[in-house]
Each structure stands twice: as structure tokens, then as C-alpha cells.
């Protein structure tokens, strides 16, 4: 009963957080539900059904899905990190904001999962790619969560996330350091073990570090 009430409170908070973002809140749904399907359709028209389409779509989702997975989280964290009077938001029993941010993150991932499931109906195997994207998204989440509290600046956190995305784009398929995550080959077990699971682990570590900063080393305006 209490848990149900907590969940309801959480969901209401999520809704208000998103409402507070105004037009910015629309970016991830637009990217996931409009841009990605549209571009996938363009690839389909270009290549028809087949492996070429698969790889084009795979490449494109890797460019966009992980970066936009932290969009809501990042701009919601602005209130906690930069807003005037942000200390008030920590005068509550649960000082840690990880559950709230995770909820937003999970909401996005649900949308992404749905999209990839639907994509999998057309391109078999696309559902599995969700796990790849999830691992990378968790890394982004951890990076953003830590940097937002560490730097006290959303702008610089956004800089770090964007720079990392561009670096990954430029170093596509370079292999080597696991941080370069964009690959145009289907997900295999070795790839998962060498690249994506380490990214997931690192993301969790960063999120944990962010939670520690959140609890013990906050800066107030």
C-alpha cells in the first residue's frame, strides 16, 4: 500500500518534472518516435529490406538513442544542481535523487525498447540491439549523474555528453578502447563482454559515485 503510494508520488513527480522542461521535454519522444522511424523508412526506401538496411538502422540508433537517453535526466537535474534555492529540494527524507532520475531514464528506455521491438518485427535481431543500447545508455546516465553533481553545471555536463558522442562518432568501429562504442556489426557475445558490459559496469560505477556526491558533497547556490 505504502509502496503503491510511493510509486504514485514518483510518477506524479516525473510528470511535473517533464512539464517543467516545456518544449525540451519533447526532444526524446520526437527523436525516438518520429525521427528514428522516419530515417529508418528512408533507409528502407534506399536499400530495401535486408542486411544493408539493418546496418544503416543499427548505426543510426547508436548515434542517437544513448545521447537522448539522458536528455530528460540532464535538464531535470538543472533544478537540483543550478536553480536558485536548490538546497530546498534536498531538505527531504530522501536526499538522493537517483530514484527520480532513474525513473525518467527508465521511461525513455521503455519507449526505446518498444521501438526496437517493433523494429525487430521488420528487422530480425533488432530487439537484441536494445541491450547494446541499454549498456551504453547506462554509461551516459552514470556520466551525466556524476558530472552534474560534481560540476554543479548542466552546460558543462552537456558538453561532456555531446563531446563523448562526437568522439564515438569519429572513432566509429575503431575498436581498441571499449569506450568507443559505435559498431556496425551485429551484437555478439564477445562484443558484449569486451565492450558493452564494461561500459555498463563503468556507468553503474559512475552513477554510484554520483549518488555519493549527491549525498555527501553537495554544493548549494
Amino acid at each position: 500500500m505504502r509502496a503503491q503510494g510511493s510509486v504514485r508520488l514518483l510518477m506524479r513527480r516525473m510528470w511535473l518534472h517533464l512539464k517543467n522542461l516545456r518544449a525540451l521535454a519533447l526532444a526524446p519522444p520526437l527523436v525516438l518516435n518520429v525521427l528514428l522511424p522516419f530515417v529508418s523508412y528512408l533507409f528502407y526506401r534506399q536499400e530495401g529490406l535486408g542486411s544493408a538496411l539493418y546496418f544503416h538502422v543499427l548505426e543510426f540508433v547508436q548515434y542517437l538513442v544513448p545521447f537522448f537517453s539522458i536528455w530528460w535526466v540532464l535538464f531535470t537535474l538543472r533544478e537540483y544542481v543550478e536553480a536558485d534555492g536548490n538546497e530546498l529540494l534536498f531538505v527531504s527524507r530522501s536526499r538522493g535523487k537517483l530514484p527520480d532520475m532513474l525513473a525518467l531514464f527508465v521511461l525513455y528506455q521503455l519507449n526505446a525498447a518498444l521501438l526496437l521491438c517493433l523494429g525487430g518485427a521488420v528487422l530480425p535481431g533488432m530487439q537484441l540491439e536494445f541491450f547494446r543500447l541499454l549498456c551504453v545508455s547506462v554509461f551516459y546516465f552514470g556520466l551525466v549523474y556524476l558530472l552534474a553533481f560534481l560540476t554543479g553545471s548542466i552546460i558543462l555536463t552537456l558538453l561532456a555528453a555531446l563531446a563523448y558522442t562526437l568522439l564515438a562518432l569519429l572513432a566509429q568501429d575503431a575498436g581498441g578502447l571499449f569506450l568507443q562504442y559505435i559498431r556496425t556489426s551485429p551484437l555478439t557475445l564477445p562484443l558484449l563482454l569486451e565492450t558493452y558490459l564494461p561500459l555498463l559496469a563503468l556507468g553503474l560505477l559512475l552513477a554510484g559515485a554520483g549518488a555519493a556526491v549527491n549525498r555527501f558533497a553537495l554544493r548549494f547556490r
Binding site: L42, F43, R45, L156, L159, L170
Partner: protein, 638 residues
Amino acid sequence: MRRQMSLTIRLFCKDWVLPAFTGLFFLYFHYVLFDEARTLPGDRLLGDLAMLRATLPLSMLCFVFFTFVSYYFADKPRHDALLECARVTRHGLPRLYGSQFLLLLALDLLFTLVAAGYNAYACFALQIGRAEAVLHILGCVLLYIFLVSLAGILLGMAAALTLNRFAACLVLVLFILLGSPLALYVAQALYYALWIDVFPVYEFLCLFPRGLESLPQHSVGYSLLPDRISATVFWLALFAVPVLWKTLCDRRRARRAAALACAVLCVGSLAVYLLPMARTASDRSARSGYVWDLDYYQFAEQKEEDGGFSVTGYDMDLTVGLQLSARVTAQVDQPALPCYKFTLYHGYQVSQVTDQDGTPLRFTQQGDTLAVENGAAGRVDSLTFTYAGDNPTYYAHAQGINLPGHFAYYPHSGYHALYDVENQSFYKLLTEQPVDVTLRVQYGKTVFCDLPQTGRNTFAGRTDGVTLLAGFLTEETVNGVQVVYPYLDTEQFRPEQLAADLNGFLASKTDGREIRKVMILPGAQMELHARCHLYSDGTLVCMQLRGLASYYERSFIAPQKQEAFNLLKTYRDDPENFENRLAAEQTAYQSTGETGMAMLLQAAVETLGEEEALARVDAYLADAADRRDSREFLEGLC
């Protein structure tokens, strides 16, 4: 101002975040360049451009870094209540933001100097002794590191001064993504799926260097063409307008003057950008190289028609600036034809055609065909064509010239198909007989031509195709043969390697044809048989020296006979492979009923005997009058 600068530096360092981010990025910047520097000469395929190639991808990261840091720094006064204090102080805002700008500019200079330093070191280590190449490398650093970062600084400041935080984040992220490879990807998808060409928009928005996905063209390096420079200047000026407007709010005259100056610069650079000129294209855009021509010729009608006359000589005045401008006079041997048909690549727009007396003649240019009507005088000894334009593959612009003699950059008699759509390359178009050509090229750099030189960038001689090259090229004589090659491509053209490859080729050549000059063409999509050609004047124009013997042999075989040539070569030189192919064709025959080429040759060998069959194939390949394709011939052979 010194005091203000000192305060600004303290403000920058006060919050540990800015120096930390700057320091981290600086370290990363160093690391990338140092890593390349310590492994010089690096990836041999990149030749002497290896360090530059490692530097240029940092352009995008520099832009992102400076945009966000500049925004963060310029936004600080608003949140620290410093902005209002500055507003009510005489010259407060200009001093405050002026000093911030200077500090960021100093950082930009620092990064630029580091990049320039590493590149200068690379020039020294790789012994790039030519000033033009060194200047090009430093020019690229200046444009893609310094100016692009400066654009980021101004964009960040403009966003901080004019937009609220949410809008600023959106604008910054959007601007960066629209100029990133991601946008190129979408543009490509739109183009190939729906034939909606948004590449011009992308190319205007993207400040970053192109062609990083593939090997650099060593003869021209990376783009410093006017379109890149004018686009960058446009964005710089545009971002500067709101910055100046907001910071000079208490100095109206200065504000108006500065904003006006920037606006004029904006408009001027936009005007320059929109001028007809040879443009930089990204590798994946509709304007890049062979894609441009493939897309055109897939739907264009190409005619083949005898013009009924021959051109007996050319007199050409070429000017290479933003693009190629030409004034070409062609002497014709038939003075009384009602209409003279020519072929000229469609990228060159003819503005005027006159006869030998200077009388303008009516003409129709449609695609690659050019029909000139005989004038009232009824007699035409020569026709003078005035035209201008460009082609992305066979270019002529400020950085270099790549006009091979087989490309129709000057009018040829008759209508000819120029492009082989199936093989995605240009056919070789040459005059039937060698003709006299005099040629003057107005160009800042040294031009290399297959014709003998009679003055600076002036040439005269007799040939069936005039090849012009310019750029980072040099000429050397090896074993009595003049070789023109891109000296930055040290993977192929180190002096000892060059000599070894050329001598190896000359030793293997047994046809007795004289080669007095070799000219290396920059990379272009070319089928194997088109990768080299021996012109009537003894000039061999080719793409590389390595494996030249094979390309040379092929170059005398007509395109439709290439398959038979390949088969014959495999039969003779690689019997195991031939057997494998035969086995595969026989297996395929079981299911499809289609007779493969190897099967046809094998049948001919079994019927006629090996010696006879192969002799007939040799004769077919050498007979220019035999225009049958390979399958037709082999089926006839059986």
C-alpha cells in the same frame, strides 16, 4: 584593461570546473597530437599529411568545447549578479565581455599554437621542404582549429547574451548536431530515398573539415577553398552581431557601426559563398566525386553521333580561379556544315560561341551535347567557345587542377557518351588523330601538362588529349622519363620507391611504345582499364606506379573486352583460379542453365586446341575494329 583581464582570469579560475575542463581537454588535445607525432611517419597511406589528418578531427571537438565553455563563462555574470553591476558602470559591459572574449581567444590561440607546433614538427620530421605544403598545413590549422573555435566562442557568447538557458541549450545542441556526421547521415538518407537534396544546407552549416573518412588527396590536401572560408566568416560575423549589440549597449554609435560592419561582412561572405565556384563536398554528399556524375548519368540520355567533321587544332586560354573559365578555339576541317556537333562535359556552361571573325553563333547546349549553328557567312574555319564550370572529380580550383586528357573539359567533335554508368567511371574521350594544341593557363601555381612547355604555364605541342595537373606536385626525371607526382604521398612516391617502381615497369614493358613522361592523376573512381592511358605524345597518365604493368596492359583493351582479357589472364597466369571458376560456373549451370564465360573459353580450347583458341582471343583483344563484347566473341569462338 590589464586589471580587468586579471579579474577575468581570476573569475575563470575561481570555479574549479572551468580550469578542470579546459585542462582535461588540453591534455586530450595534446595526447592525440603527441601520439601521432611519436609514431611519425605514422600511417604510411596518409603520407606527409598524417599529422594534419590527426589534427583535423579535433576541429569539431574544439568547436563543441569552446561553444559550451564560452556560454558557461559568459552566462556566469548573469547568475552572479555581476551583469547588472556591469550594466550600470560606464563601459562595464564591453570591458566585462571584452575581457572574457580576450581570455577565450587566448585559449583558442594556445590550442592553435599547439596544433601548429605539432604540425610544424611533423613538417620538419618528414622533411616537407616546400613552402606551399607547409603553408597549406598551417592554413588548415588556422581555419579548422582557430577560426572554427572562434566561431564556437562567439556562438556561446551570443547564446548567453540573448537566450534563456533552455533555449540556449537547444540552439547549441541543434547547431552542433546539424553540422555533425549525424546530419550528413540523415541528408544522405533523404537524398537516396527521396531525392531531396539538403546537402547544400548541411555544407553551409558544417564548419568542420571534410573528407576525413577516406584517405586525403595528396595533390590538394584538405579544403581551403573559398566556399569553406566564406562560410566560416559568415558564421563568425553572424554570431558577432548579437555579442556586439548586447555588450555595446551604452555606446550607441559604436554599437551600430560594429553591428553594421558585421552585417556587411555577413552579407559579403554569403555573396561570395553563393558565387559559382568549385565547392568542397563531404565524402557522402551528392556533390562528392563520382556520386555526382553517377547520379546525373543514371538518368541522362547520352548520345553517340558522328559530327561529320574533325577538329584539327586547339588554341586554349584557361583561367582557374573559383572554377575553370575557358576560351577555346577549335579549328575544324569542314567549313560549310549547317551545324557543328560537339561534346563538352555538362558541368561547363557555354556563354558564347563565335566564329573565326568573332561573329556570335547560335548554339544549343543540352547535357553533354553542344550544337552550334553555322552563321550567316556560311563558312566556319574555327569556333571559339567561352565557358565556365567545374566537376568534383576532375576539378580546377584554387588548390589544384586535375584535368586528364581523356575528360571532355574542352569541346570534342561529334556526340559521345562520356560516362560508363555500369562501371561508374568516365569513358576515355580523345581526338581521333593527334592535333596541334597551344595552351595558356592563368593560375597562381605551376601547371604540369603533357605538352612541352613554352613559357610559364604556357604549352604547345601535338597530342590526342591534353592533361593538366597542378597542386602539391613535383617533377623529376627518372631513367630519362619525366615523372610528375604528388610529393606528399610518400607511401608511393619516396624517391627510391618511385625509381624502383618506374624502372620495374619500364623493364617489364615489351610493346616498344615510347614513354617520355609519366603523370600521376589524383585518386578518382576509375575502372581498372581506365587507370592509365598512353597518349600519342608519349605521356603516360596513370593513378599509381605500383602494379602499373597490369594497368598498362589493360589500358589498350576496350571496355567491352575487359572481361575476356581478365579471363585470358587468369587462364594463363593462375590456372588454379581458372579451374575454381570453371567448377563454380558448372555448378551454377546445373541450376540456372546459364553458360559462364570460363565454360565458353574451356569449350573453345577443347574444340580448337589451346594454342589456336588463345591466339584468337589475343587477336580479338588487339583488333580495334572488332567491337563485339566478350560474351558475344566467346560464344562465336565456340
